[in-house]
Amino acid sequence: MYDIKALYEAESVEHAVRLLIEHPEAQIIAGGSDVLVQMREGKRAGKELVSIYGLDEMRGVSFEADGAIRIGSLTSFSHITRDPIIKEHINVLGEAVDMVGGPQIRNIGTIGGNTCNGVTSADSASTLHAWDAVVEITGPNGVRRIPIHDFYIRAGVVDLKPGEVQTAIIIPKIAYEGYHGHYIKYAMRNAMDIATTGCSVNVKLSSDKKVMEDVRIAYGVAGPVPMRAPQAEAEAKGKTVSGGNVKAFAETVLKDINPRDSWRASKEFRQHIAVVLAERALRESIRLAGGEIDE
């Protein structure tokens, strides 16, 4: 039994916006795998809920006119993993969200919920950061799009203004074309866990596969929100595909990240793992891109 004050079911995105304006204290609920857990813990107990779960218009993966990949915010993790567009163009995202919780959670949990929850450990978030994703938000004043980096304000807080709903996540064509990536979730067990640290890396190699034209890396749990490691990216960009350069890249991440010391893991441990993950994820990305590392 949950302590829910009222539940309003939206019939369209527009209706959802209207319900949120009418009930300014209400919490949006999609799959419920975060919201209901928080309610049970008493954190959101007694709240009104606006459910958007029935809005099929916010479900599915498609191409936009300019070739961008559009992922409806209500698309479930298991859908994303199996989606042919994702598989072909940004397979790493499907792999990353396949590491969330267990099969039941992956069927009910949505990528919109995963990002709107605002937590640093979300398995989709580091990959979306690493692929320059754009967040589409629909509100009383229409639709706006912002980079995912700006969407995260601080731990647990995202840029959703009163009456706004996150409606889609978009990966621009320029952000995915020619890139290959790999995500490593470091957790204490192989299922039903959250990341101690998550690392998503992707690379664009030169046509001869000898040079790393672009390298992008993002972490979960290396700071209060998911984050890129710009100095490490700059270190690798334009460098040849060599073991030394991969290692230099990995070690540079320590200049960028700021993991915390907690009972879940010590700062030293997270830093050590962050470097190991960066190296391994870049190596795998290079392999997927058809490159060979010159040792």
């Binding site: 008493g42 470091y186 204490m188 067990r189 192989n190 299922a191 010590s266 441990f269 793992i273």
Partner: protein, 761 residues
């Protein structure tokens, strides 16, 4: 013969289709919902509790606080049989609600409401004022002079200290040429994590109170509820339906006394107390964390000259099962690897942490972690093969323990080691994995374990059984030994069918225990179900058979000694002719106009024996050193549990125990905040119970040496599978990396620390 066959569990179908009813399914929807208010300090005194806001919440029936407990009936909680000798009684240190707070999560109040939501709201609205005392979390810190005193009756917080002295340790270590090997070994606080959280409900009828509870020990709980309420024990009735696991946590009176007390305060209204998972971790029972210090003095030939063990067992805030846990491990120490000169000191010490009680293995998993990690350290130090070193020093065949009179009748250890080694291809792998380099390395490790069935001669061992014949020749069987998921009912069915001579389908074991109806028995614990129940089943079935044959004699005029019951028929043994079916006989017996008889039998067996149940684990791992991760590649347990009544259930039992051992060895640990004493990870996300994805295929192999003291040749198998898994994994990691992790679990945090210390990172 049904014993020895893989017959289907008697409860399989209902459990598979979801028809089995557990405590919550049985509780009427009119029940009030109770929730417990827990302290938010680790040590101190409740000064006041303001319930005014909570009482205003619609749906709240009443809020009770520790100050409402006017009659202070202190009671013990351990699921031990009562001792009529006050010297041997468990420590009575609990009240249903307490003003004196001894751990973060102590029970200081309770809310009763019409529904769960108002109960939860009320709990959040209560304001508590405390007087805080300093607290102590570490077992050895708690023993120091000046440490916070948790119970005034126990100076230095020592609940009990026992010692074993054999030979002369101090003299023996003077022998020239000895190598000294010393180590400290730590096991963590872990929790049982049974699927069904503790739940119970209570209601009154007349002046009697009935508590239906998810417990392993209904008859013991009846006594404890009587003690806690200060009422005659016969006024208490405990009903135990199917339960979703217990693993020892439910071998304790948990919240049955509080629920019964709340019910009585409310005029006997039905009250349900369903404990949330978070509270289960903190305010039920946990496994004792034990710190062990072992010193061995070894001769150049690999034999032990002298050995010493000091063990410090973390009791948490209340006595519960107390010293019995570490005492069991301490008792095993001189037996497993006998040595002429031994000193053992075992301490059980209060700390301001969650209360430790019984948990699968009862101190032996902790003891084996220390002893078998140490054994590996000694073998490596002496340059000896780990298997050969163990074979050389292990308890020999014919060994008799002076106290329990247990005897090792068969060459169990060597047979189990041989079987396990073969099952996992040990020799090849061990050789292949020597002296590896690189980031990713493999290793294979072994651990044996000591265990004994049942608790004789420490405690009462009794089992009572009742059998009642139906019109159709089928019979009901009732026992106090409970089905808690292990498959006991199925084993009892097989045993009864064999002794009575009826088909399996004609035996109906009554699964539910009801203390008003069920014969007295102390419940499920100590891996003693098939062993102890076996005696009373055999005796009762023979008694019933005798009565049936006597009646058959009257119907057939054949001498009783020429009659037998075979597959549900009365058979003349001289020529094998079937004279009548048992159903025909029984119908006649019940409806006869001249000689009506209710054919039934009831008997009690007192069991003054016990049996060793030994075995081993071999584990193979792959260690990714930079990642500080261990992957379990392969694992096998070998057991000599005597004759197996049901090999399929035996295998399942071993799989479950291995899984618990994997969690204990690799990932589980309840963490307490140094600053507040609060448990930090009391949920199934942050407490790293291992999952299917963390398990390789689990292998179980058996050596079946029939146990001569046993009614059916059986001995313990419930707890043994959890005893040797963790040290085998630790020793495999040791072979792979050359790094011994002495603090369980072998998780990434401990590996990071150890690899850093040893220069691998």
């Amino acid at each position: 013969m049904y014993a020895g066959k893989k017959v289907t569990r008697v409860d399989a179908y209902d459990k598979a289709i979801g028809r089995t009813r557990y405590t919550d399914d049985l509780c009427d929807k009119s029940a009030y919902i109770a929730r417990v208010l827990h302290s938010t300090i680790a040590h101190g005194r409740v000064v006041s509790i303001d319930t005014s806001e909570a009482e205003k919440i619609p749906g709240v029936v009443k809020v009770f606080t520790c100050f409402d407990v006017k009659e202070k009936h202190y009671f013990p909680t351990a699921g031990h049989p009562w001792s009529t000798d006050p010297e041997h009684q468990d420590v009575a240190d609990r009240l249903v609600l307490t003003e004196e707070v001894r751990f973060y999560g102590d029970d200081i109040g309770a809310v009763v409401a019409e529904d769960e939501v108002s109960a939860a709201q009320a709990l959040r609205a209560i304001k508590v004022e405390y007087e805080e005392y300093p607290f102590v979390l570490d077992v050895q810190e708690a023993m120091k002079e000046g440490a916070p005193q948790i119970h005034k009756e126990y100076p230095n917080n020592i609940l009990k200290h026992t010692a074993i002295r054999k030979g002369n340790y101090e003299e023996a270590i003077k022998e020239p040429g000895l190598t000294k090997v010393e180590g400290w070994y730590d096991t963590p606080t872990v929790q049982h994590c049974h699927i069904e959280n503790f739940i119970c409900y209570a209601e009154m009828e007349g002046d009697r109170i009935t508590v239906t509870a998810s417990t392993q020990i209904p008859h013991i709980v009846r006594r404890i509820v009587g003690q806690a309420l200060g009422i005659e024990w016969g006024r208490v009735r405990i009903i135990k339906p199917y339960i979703g696991g217990g693993f020892g946590n439910k071998q304790d009176a948990l919240y049955e006394p509080l629920c019964a007390w709340l019910c009585m305060q409310l005029g006997g209204h039905l009250v349900k107390l369903d404990i949330p998972r978070e509270d289960t971790f903190v305010s039920n029972r946990v496994r004792h964390a034990i710190r062990s210090h072992i010193i061995s003095w070894v001769r150049p030939d690999g034999s032990y000259a002298a050995r010493k063990l000091e063990a410090f067992s973390d009791q948490g805030a209340y006595a519960s099962h107390g010293h019995s846990i570490v005492a069991k491990g301490a008792g095993a120490f001189p037996q497993l690897y006998p040595c002429d000169n031994v000193e053992v000191d075992a301490y059980t010490v209060f700390t301001n942490k969650s209360v430790a009680g019984a948990m699968r293995g009862y101190g032996i998993p902790q003891a084996m972690w220390a002893v078998e990690s140490h054994t590996e350290d000694v073998a490596v130090r002496m340059g000896m093969d780990p298997i050969d070193f163990r074979r050389k020093n292990l308890m020999p065949v014919g060994y008799v323990d002076a106290f329990s009179k247990n005897e090792l009748y068969d060459d169990t250890f060597n047979q189990c080691l041989d079987k396990a080694m073969e099952a996992i291809d040990y020799r090849r792998k061990f050789k292949e994995y020597q002296n590896q380099t690189g980031d990713v390395r493999r290793g294979i490790g072994v651990s044996v374990f000591w265990y004994n069935t049942a608790v004789w001669p420490i405690s009462l061992e009794t089992s009572s059984c009742r059998m009642v014949l139906n019109q159709d020749g089928s019979c009901q069987v009732q026992l106090g030994e409970t089905e808690i998921g292990q498959g006991a009912d199925t084993a009892y069915t097989q045993m009864t069918a064999d002794v009575l001579g009826v088909p399996l389908k004609d035996v109906h074991v009554v699964s539910c225990q009801d203390t008003d109806v069920t014969p007295f028995g102390t419940g499920a614990y100590a891996s003693r179900q098939t062993y102890t129940a076996g005696f009373s089943i055999r005796r009762t079935a023979l008694l019933l058979k005798e009565r049936i044959l006597k009646y058959a004699h009257e119907l057939t005029r054949m001498p009783e000694y020429n009659l037998d019951i075979v597959e549900g028929n009365i058979v003349r043994t001289t020529d094998g002719r079937i004279l009548m079916s048992l159903g025909e006989l029984s119908t006649e017996a019940l409806y006869s106009l001249t000689n009506s008889q209710h054919l039934s039998a009831e008997s009690t067996s007192q069991i003054k024996s016990n049996a060793y149940s030994f075995g081993c684990t071999i584990a193979e791992v792959e260690v990714d050193i930079p990642m500080c991760k261990v992957k379990l590649l392969d694992i096998v347990n070998a057991h000599d549990a005597g004759t197996l009544i049901n090999p399929a259930l035996a295998e399942a039992q071993v799989h479950g125990g291995m899984s618990m051992g994997i969690g204990f060895g690799m990932s589980e640990r309840l963490i307490f905040d140094e600053k507040t004493g609060r448990a930090l990870n009391n949920n199934l996300l942050d407490y790293k119970l291992s999952t299917f994805m963390d398990h390789p295929r689990l292998k179980a192999v058996f050596v079946e040496n029939a146990e001569p003291t046993s009614a059916f040749g059986t001995k313990a198998l419930g707890e043994p599978p959890a005893c040797s898994v963790a040290p085998a994994i630790r020793n495999a990691v040791y072979q792979a990396t050359g790094v011994g992790v002495n603090e369980a679990p072998v998780n990434p945090h401990n590996l990071f620390r150890r690899f850093t210390e040893e220069g691998l990172l």
